[in-house]
């Protein structure tokens, strides 16, 4: 008993400090470093630039193309309405600056400077100028962490927009990704545009991802293609967060009722 007490008296301070350190580390881990990211955002705020400035710098040709695309989209929407599709008005997104990258080298993540205070939720879709970049996996009041498409653990259902052949995309930790096809002999060429498919539950269908760079049809077990992301995934400066509620398999228009028999 005496030796135990003496041992305690000698090591009391060290044990208390050690348990304090482990306790706070566990706390930080459980809260997913909420406090750290908030502090980081607070400290780096003076160095961030407003996303609005970037938008002004976009060149005129791009704007022209966007306008024409918007025109086409609305036309498409109208035709779909005529056919009886549900019209989905996309909500305006939240522009957010990229304030940091992943805290280790194995994960492809970015930290955006907008959080729950601005209405960001876990599962929201992040789009950069050029195309889809990733998905929000964690939010704090002022920051949100995004898992990029280039991370090997993120997989997205994708489709070749020209020939409608489907597959999924697997990140490669660079600005290239591998698309694995479901079909044995897909019709795919260099330069084809790849978008998210309607089978993807985590992302809405039809978002641009990238272009086919090369095709390997002899790959076993399934043919593969190398995709180059159209958004600058490795040097993002700002992105737009769109809210998205994952809805499993809603490829069939929901309000279409079976045709009454004539």
């Amino acid at each position: 008993m005496f030796t135990l007490r003496r041992w305690w008296e000698r090591h009391r301070l060290q044990i208390i400090l050690a348990s304090l350190a482990i306790g706070s580390a566990l706390f930080i881990r459980q809260t997913e470093a909420r406090f750290l990211f908030e502090t980081y955002q607070f400290l780096t705020r003076p160095f961030q630039q407003a996303p609005a400035q970037k938008a002004v710098l976009e060149n005129a040709q791009l704007r022209d193309l966007q306008q024409r695309l918007a025109d086409m989209e609305s036309q498409n929407q109208r035709l779909k309405e005529l056919l009886g599709y549900v019209s989905q008005q996309p909500a305006p997104g939240i522009p957010a600056p990229v304030v940091g990258r992943s805290a280790d080298h194995w994960w492809q993540q970015v930290i955006l400077g907008r959080g729950t205070k601005d209405g960001v939720k876990v599962g929201d879709v992040v789009i950069a100028p050029g195309g889809l970049v990733g998905r929000v996996i964690n939010v704090t009041p002022n920051t949100s962490r995004v898992l990029l498409l280039s991370d090997p653990s993120s997989r997205v259902g994708a489709i070749i927009s020209r020939s409608r052949f489907m597959g999924y995309i697997r990140g490669q930790s660079t600005n290239r990704a591998v698309m694995v096809f479901f079909d044995r002999v897909p019709d795919v060429r260099r330069g084809d545009v790849v978008t998210t498919s309607s089978f993807s539950q985590l992302f809405p269908a039809g978002l641009p991802i990238g272009r086919v760079e090369s095709v390997d049809l002899n790959k076993s077990p399934a043919p593969e293609a190398i995709i180059e992301f159209s958004a600058p995934v490795s040097f993002l400066e700002w992105a737009v967060i769109h809210s998205h509620a994952p809805h499993p398999y809603s490829t069939v228009p929901s309000n279409q009722e079976p045709n009454p028999a004539p």
């Binding site: 580390a25 881990r29 750290l36 990211f37 502090t39 990258r101 805290a103 280790d104 194995w106 930790s173």
Partner: protein, 186 residues
């Protein structure tokens, strides 16, 4: 002199000395954690920055026991798990780094502090990334070829950068801890 009176007052009040020491130590950890998500120009190589937590663990364990090294690895590993993702965990790699750094017989092989810390940081960075790569291999959701080609890239860049930046963190911290232990002995 002012610093003398300061050290005398710290000598007289062991509790305030402990408090200051803890504040400086925790403050340096916090600084490392806040630098971690940045990629400052000149501090990155192919999108990869120095592994600041590893540098801190090395600086902490160089003149401490294996248990203390393991403890530092555990604490910082848990925090880094919180900042990225809990699996694969960073606890194993950082604990191993702490234990091995404390275990190394530096006085036998290496004399000069500056060189030895840089060398230790280089070796430990390679080791830590290898431990993570092994964990990924067991997890099995990526192909082995992908894991190990990527491992080559990040092990090398992170080792080079960590060893170059290690003295920046090691010197002030080491001076501080030496100063504190001198006060305790006196």
């Amino acid at each position: 002199m002012k610093s003398e009176s300061l050290s005398r007052s710290w000598q007289d009040h062991p509790f305030s000395r402990l408090l200051i020491n803890c504040t400086v130590t925790v403050g340096s950890v916090l600084l490392c954690l806040l630098i971690l998500p940045t990629r400052l120009p000149g501090m990155e190589l192919a999108g990869i920055g120095p592994n600041w937590l590893l540098i801190w663990v090395v600086a902490w364990s160089v003149k401490r026991t294996m248990l203390q090294g393991a403890l530092a690895g555990l604490v910082l590993g848990l925090i880094q798990d919180g900042m990225t993702a809990p699996s694969p965990t960073h606890v194993f790699s950082l604990m191993l780094v702490g234990v091995l750094t404390a275990r190394l017989r530096k006085e036998r092989y290496l004399q000069e502090d500056f060189i030895s810390v840089a060398l230790i940081a280089f070796g430990m960075a390679v080791l830590a990334e290898t431990v993570t790569a092994i964990q990924y291999s067991f997890q099995g959701d990526r192909s082995l070829v992908e894991i190990w080609t990527y491992h080559q890239l990040i092990a090398l860049s992170s080792a080079i950068l960590s060893s170059l930046w290690a003295p920046v963190l090691y010197f002030p911290l080491n001076r501080w801890w030496e100063y504190m232990s001198e006060l305790k002995v006196l």
